[in-house]
């Protein structure tokens, strides 16, 4: 079966950033300036995506996720390499391409800001030339998923961030696209809204067999939705494969955040050494002091019980405050570089 929806082959996007000068005079001189710095936002990546897949495209901030999405949706022209979406070059024929895809960009709504929600749907119906039967059917389905009816008459600008995101996501499925791109759909939302959004995405994928590419820097999103993930960092793909392997590894990881009273340079190194001496194994426990004033102790629960570590830390150092969080994307990336998936 060959049902490739997205074909990416040695794709790159480089931004040339001008070192700008001040004022209008500077701006005019800038037009002729050659004082550039190159940012390799996406650097030689390759992958294929099959119809019906939900793929998690994940990586820390600035990894190149949005840039990839912008190329796939035809906003940006690739600097190098091949990119085909549904067999077309997105950039070369934006209008035709847009007809077969849906896009949601994080916190930027594409609905009509001052108009009631339902009017945005009507306008989209007209833009994509959706016939009445399909329109009614889809609205009915959205209603079951989201209780959209309650929001119909509200102007978009009056919706909460979560409501708006739900409307944006469902709207992107209105014209029955082959593929939908969701760039950070859960950014800035609280836990209950996140889980709502995840279930809506799952349902929409199931109902229409729509291919979905979802970017996020939250591992929780992909755990709930994707079977396959692609991890990108500094423009390069560092993992592409089943999520199972990654969750098996990182699902057990937790980060113990502690605030140490009178923290001094070197305290974290001493702590790491002490933990190593007490529990053994260096992959299981990493200690890092962050700029926010918290010290992060990352623990692999499969190897060391979290609460033993916590007790030990509290006995060793004067602790003001404690939090337990899932492993951060940055940390996952670091572990992969250190050979965790090998």
């Amino acid at each position: 079966m060959n049902d490739t929806v997205v074909h990416v082959d040695h794709l790159s996007k480089h931004f040339r950033i001008l070192n700008r000068r001040e004022g209008l005079g500077g701006a005019i001189r800038d037009l002729f300036s050659a004082d550039y710095k190159t940012v390799r936002a996406v650097d030689d990546i390759s992958f294929d995506i099959q119809a019906g897949e939900i793929v998690g495209y994940i990586g820390p901030n600035g990894a190149g996720k949005s840039t990839t999405i912008k190329m796939m949706t035809g906003v940006l022209k690739p600097s190098d390499g091949t990119l085909l979406v549904s067999g077309n070059e997105p950039y070369a024929n934006r209008r035709r391409n847009a007809q077969t895809m849906g896009v949601v960009f994080g916190q930027r709504t594409q609905l009509w800001w001052d108009l009631p929600v339902i009017e945005s749907f009507r306008i989209l119906k007209e833009i994509y030339r959706v016939d009445d039967a399909t329109y009614e059917k889809h609205l009915g389905m959205f209603n079951e998923l989201v209780d959209l009816k309650a929001l119909y008459s509200q102007p978009v600008r009056k919706l909460s961030l979560g409501q708006r995101m739900l409307c944006d996501i469902t709207a992107s499925f209105l014209h029955n696209p082959r593929i939908v791109f969701l760039d950070e759909p859960s950014i800035g939302l609280d836990v209950s809204v996140k889980s709502k959004i995840r279930s809506v995405i799952r349902e929409l994928n199931r109902a229409q067999r729509t291919t979905i590419i979802l970017t996020t820097h939250d591992l929780g999103d992909v755990e709930a939705l994707c079977r396959r993930i692609i991890i990108i960092d500094k423009g390069k793909i560092i993992y592409d494969g089943p999520i199972g392997k990654v969750t098996a590894l990182f699902g057990a990881y937790r980060t113990l955040k502690v605030q140490i009273h009178n923290y001094k340079e070197g305290t974290s190194d001493q702590l790491e050494a002490a933990l190593g001496a007490r529990f053994g194994g260096d992959a299981a426990i990493a200690v890092e002091h962050t700029e926010t004033g918290w010290t992060d102790v990352t623990v692999n629960q499969d190897q060391v019980p979290l609460f033993d570590v916590l007790r030990f830390v509290m006995e060793t150092l004067p602790i003001k405050d404690v939090r337990i969080v899932e492993i951060s994307m940055e940390n996952v990336v670091q572990q992969i570089y250190d050979g965790a998936l090998k």
Binding site: F15, V39, R95, A98, D114, R122
Partner: protein, 265 residues
């Protein structure tokens, strides 16, 4: 044809929704309309004062100037009504919100411009029509079907020139950070368009006729009605000038859109 119909339907749909939404802020509509009327009256007043100190401005009477000014008001109505979002371009480009306009299967310029429907244009239209009728009565101009046709054609051409000049100026933002001065300059230059071009000396007349053709916004086309016996040959090319300048503006827009890379977030 089918496409054209599609766009018309789409525009009407969006515009009516905007009107409905805007009507909920009636105060805002009336305040800005009143502001617009006052601005126009103030401009006429300046003309009037000017004419009372200098009885004829390079051979142009007050009523003729009023006619040209009315023509000018009418020719910028389409800009007001359909291209008002051009003023927001710099903001969208700098903020990165511009990328949403790449994502729909419709013409980008259409999509962008349809995203703002400004009602003040209708007030300006009424004001322009009123002034035009008043001035032509004082001048003893008679209107027949043929002349109305010519007026329509002339206004169509002029409005394209006005739209193009501002569109091109706004597009500077795709290449220049802090492009406000460009837009501001275009606006200041546009403000010269209701003046008889004959009051300018060689250099400026050349500039405003060929390079930044604001002469075609109001002055040259009005000559058909005011002084048909001395219409400069060039005036017959107004429609070409209009279409040509819009084609150029569309080209610049497309170039800008394709060179835009968004913001780094």
């Amino acid at each position: 044809m089918r496409t054209l119909l599609h766009y018309v339907r789409l525009y009407v749909l969006i515009a009516t929704q905007y009107v409905k939404a805007r009507m909920q802020y009636r105060a805002d509509f009336w305040i800005s309309s009143v502001g617009m009327v006052f601005t126009s009256i103030a401009t006429v007043f300046v003309f009037w004062v000017l004419f009372h100190s200098i009885p004829d401005l390079a051979g142009w009477s007050f009523d003729e100037i009023l006619f040209i000014y009315a023509f000018y008001l009418l020719s910028v109505v389409p800009l007001q009504l359909f291209f008002d979002n051009i003023w927001q371009l710099r903001f969208h480009v700098v903020e990165g919100s511009f990328i949403k306009y790449y994502l729909r299967p419709i013409n980008m310029m259409f999509y962008y411009m349809s995203d703002m429907v400004d009602l003040k244009g209708w007030v300006q239209l009424a004001l322009g029509v009123f002034m035009l009728i008043y001035a032509s009565q004082r001048l003893g101009l008679t209107w027949n079907l043929w002349r109305l046709g010519v007026l329509g054609m002339a206004l169509f051409s002029s409005s394209l020139v006005a739209i193009s000049i501002l569109t091109i100026a706004a597009c500077a933002t795709f290449w220049i950070v802090g492009s406000f001065p460009v837009m501001d300059l275009a606006l200041k230059i546009r403000d010269f368009s209701p003046y008889p071009m004959t009051i300018f000396d060689g250099f400026f007349r050349f500039l405003f006729t060929y390079l930044i053709p604001i002469g075609f916004v109001a002055f040259y086309p009005s000559q058909f009605f005011l002084r048909p016996e001395q219409v400069p040959l060039l005036t017959y090319f107004s429609p070409l000038m209009g279409i040509g300048s819009f084609a150029l503006a569309y080209f610049v827009w497309t170039k800008g859109v394709n060179s835009y890379t968004g913001t780094g977030s």
